[in-house]
């Protein structure tokens, strides 16, 4: 079996508040970039599947040359290979088209694994678009993989506040959530291997696809209005403080 884990380069969590509107508009960020936190769970999930059900896990991303560092992180965690699709112009549907073309070119992928969403774009629409581009079933909100082989997969999905156990035929696209597993630390041996490994770079032309022109247009990037919160603290005994807080909340009409 072959697992292909799709990752994206995004700002580090602690850096997100520092992103400036003009940087978000241009895509040229000055903040520290890392593997999208949801995709770290996808890497862990894919590597766990490789260990549990056999086969090989590889990582792939769409981005500029600098995204190669993120692929090295994936290799350091235990992926066996990594591929960069060099493109920085595509929107979500374009990225889905490029990834689908890469999956077809590889020819042997059994399961595509993604994080449920990215911490920059936030829409969570890519996994479904990729599934539609491939014509494969899509399972979103995957919290646990029960079993998987060349023919079918059984997973537990989080659907709102409920949990569904579902099966789908292979090949399939899985979008995972954090419960799939905490990302492991890279080992020294894997870090050394990752540093030396050759990472193929494919262009849209190599993949023989025309990237669809973007259909989503963003404008007026801005900071959300700051919270006008200046905290009012209540003192006294726990009962006195609780009474005063309750009075304030009743006055706010939120109870």
């Amino acid at each position: 079996m072959r697992y292909l884990i799709c990752i994206k380069q995004t700002p580090d969590t602690a850096e997100l508040p520092k992103v400036k509107p003009e940087e978000a508009a241009s895509g040229r960020l000055s903040v520290q970039l890392v593997v999208n936190p949801w995709d770290e769970h996808a890497l862990e999930g894919g590597i766990q599947m490789m260990e549990k059900f056999g086969g090989e896990a590889g990582a792939i991303t769409v981005g500029g040359e600098d995204a190669i560092e993120r692929l090295r992180s994936a290799l350091a965690m235990g992926c066996k290979d990594a591929t960069l699709i060099k493109d920085t112009a595509a929107d979500a549907w374009g990225v889905a088209t490029l990834l689908a073309a890469a999956v077809r070119k590889m020819g042997n992928v059994t399961y595509v694994i993604t994080g449920q969403m990215t911490v920059d774009g936030n829409s969570g629409t890519l996994p479904v678009a990729l599934g539609r581009a491939l014509g494969w079933p899509v399972l979103t909100g995957v919290a646990r993989v029960v079993s998987a082989d060349e023919t079918a997969i059984t997973v537990e999905r989080i659907v709102g506040q409920a949990r569904h156990t579902v099966t789908a035929p292979a090949p399939a696209v899985l979008a995972v959530v954090k419960e799939i597993g905490e990302p492991r630390y890279p080992t020294f041996i894997n870090i050394r291997k990752a540093a030396r490994m050759e990472i193929p770079v494919w262009t849209p032309a190599d993949l023989g696809v025309n990237v669809p022109a973007p259909v989503v247009h963003m404008s007026d990037f801005r900071k959300p209005p700051a919270r006008e919160a200046r905290v009012v603290l209540f003192n006294g005994t726990p009962d006195e403080a609780a009474q005063a807080l309750l009075d304030a909340l009743l006055a706010e009409k939120v109870l």
Binding site: A24, W93, G124, V159
Partner: protein, 321 residues
């Protein structure tokens, strides 16, 4: 502009944030039709009419009691062809998000996902949505017809029942084949309030560590008295104090209640990304320097094991619950 609104159901019951999508569509003006898919959902179709939809499409089928991406996508595409709607709107639940993405990608049109605001400008939708985990706001427009958008739960008021009636067109289910078989469903506990739909949330964090079981018992008791949902920080989930589905934050659920009570939560960036747009934030924390106090409207510096039960007692007495 004519808008088709997806009314989501699960096992015959409506998913309540669908009425918010209907409310938003009605506020856009123009004709608003509803699409109800599910099993034994004729009452939901009637309710869509009573809430102001001018027409209702109904697809009622035993194989559609639970959401299925392949089947529902085929259904929506068929109804869009039938209704000639200019726009398609759904609530940004997990299922609504997936459905909008599949319909949009299949039709080659963009999706304005997870909007907080939505209006019509020159015959096209213009959505405002947060990106970078709530740190940037942006206006979004998409090419093509139908225009597709999803609305974040609690971003709009639900369409009220005004007692109107609308013609219901019953459509045959499309001939699409499902590829995903649901083997088991573990439902939310009875009375459990959905985090994304909750108007009040009481959340616990690392501060419960000295007795996590008691800590979350006290938090649940307060939540019950207030009619609130229970949430948690990533630290509490990672420590195994409470399951992941309760996690609020960047790698959990994004919520926007009227009132968010953070008990023993420090207020890390990744937590703020999930609850920073709550209307009123209350912080209960032993550490007066915790960052949560810098976003809170009200706070008590103290031990949650003493403050939370005091708040429960006070609320029980004052609210007669």
């Amino acid at each position: 502009m004519k808008t088709l609104v997806f009314i989501e159901t699960e096992s015959g019951a409506v998913v309540s944030s669908s009425w918010e999508a209907l409310g938003k569509a009605l506020s856009l003006g123009g004709e608003v039709e509803a699409l109800v898919i599910g099993h034994q959902v004729a009452a939901v179709a009637a309710e869509a009419g009573a809430r102001g939809a001018t027409g209702v499409y109904l697809i009622d089928d035993p194989g559609r009691a639970l959401f299925d991406l392949d089947l529902y996508t085929a259904d929506v595409k068929a109804v869009l062809t039938e209704s000639h709607a200019d726009a398609f709107l759904a609530s940004h639940t997990g299922n609504g998000r997936d459905l909008a993405a599949a319909v949009g990608f299949d039709l080659g049109v963009g999706v304005i996902a997870d909007c907080l605001e939505l209006k019509v400008v020159d015959g096209r939708l213009l959505g405002t949505r947060p990106i970078y985990s709530g740190n940037i706001l942006v206006d979004v427009q998409v090419d093509g017809r139908p225009q597709i958008a999803t609305l974040r739960p609690r971003a709009a008021a639900p369409a009220p029942v005004i007692g109107t009636t609308a013609p219901v067109v019953t459509m045959a289910p499309t001939a699409a084949t499902s590829r995903v078989a649901v083997k088991a469903v573990e439902r939310a506990e009875a009375g459990e309030i959905s985090l994304t739909d909750a108007s009040i949330i009481v959340s616990g964090g690392r501060g419960v560590a000295k007795d996590p079981e008691l800590g979350f018992k006290l938090i649940r008791e307060l939540a019950q008295v207030l009619g609130a949902a229970v949430g948690a920080s990533r630290a509490a989930v990672d420590a195994g104090f409470i399951p992941y589905k309760y996690q609020v934050g960047q790698t959990g659920k994004v919520v926007r209640p009227d009132l968010y009570i953070a008990c023993g939560i420090s207020g890390a960036v990744q937590h703020l990304a999930g609850m920073g747009s709550s209307k009123i934030i209350v912080a209960i924390n032993k550490d007066a320097e915790a960052p949560i106090f810098s976003v809170a409207n009200y706070g008590i510096v103290g031990d949650l094991f003493e403050i939370v039960p005091a708040l429960t007692r006070a609320a029980r007495a004052r609210l007669n619950r």
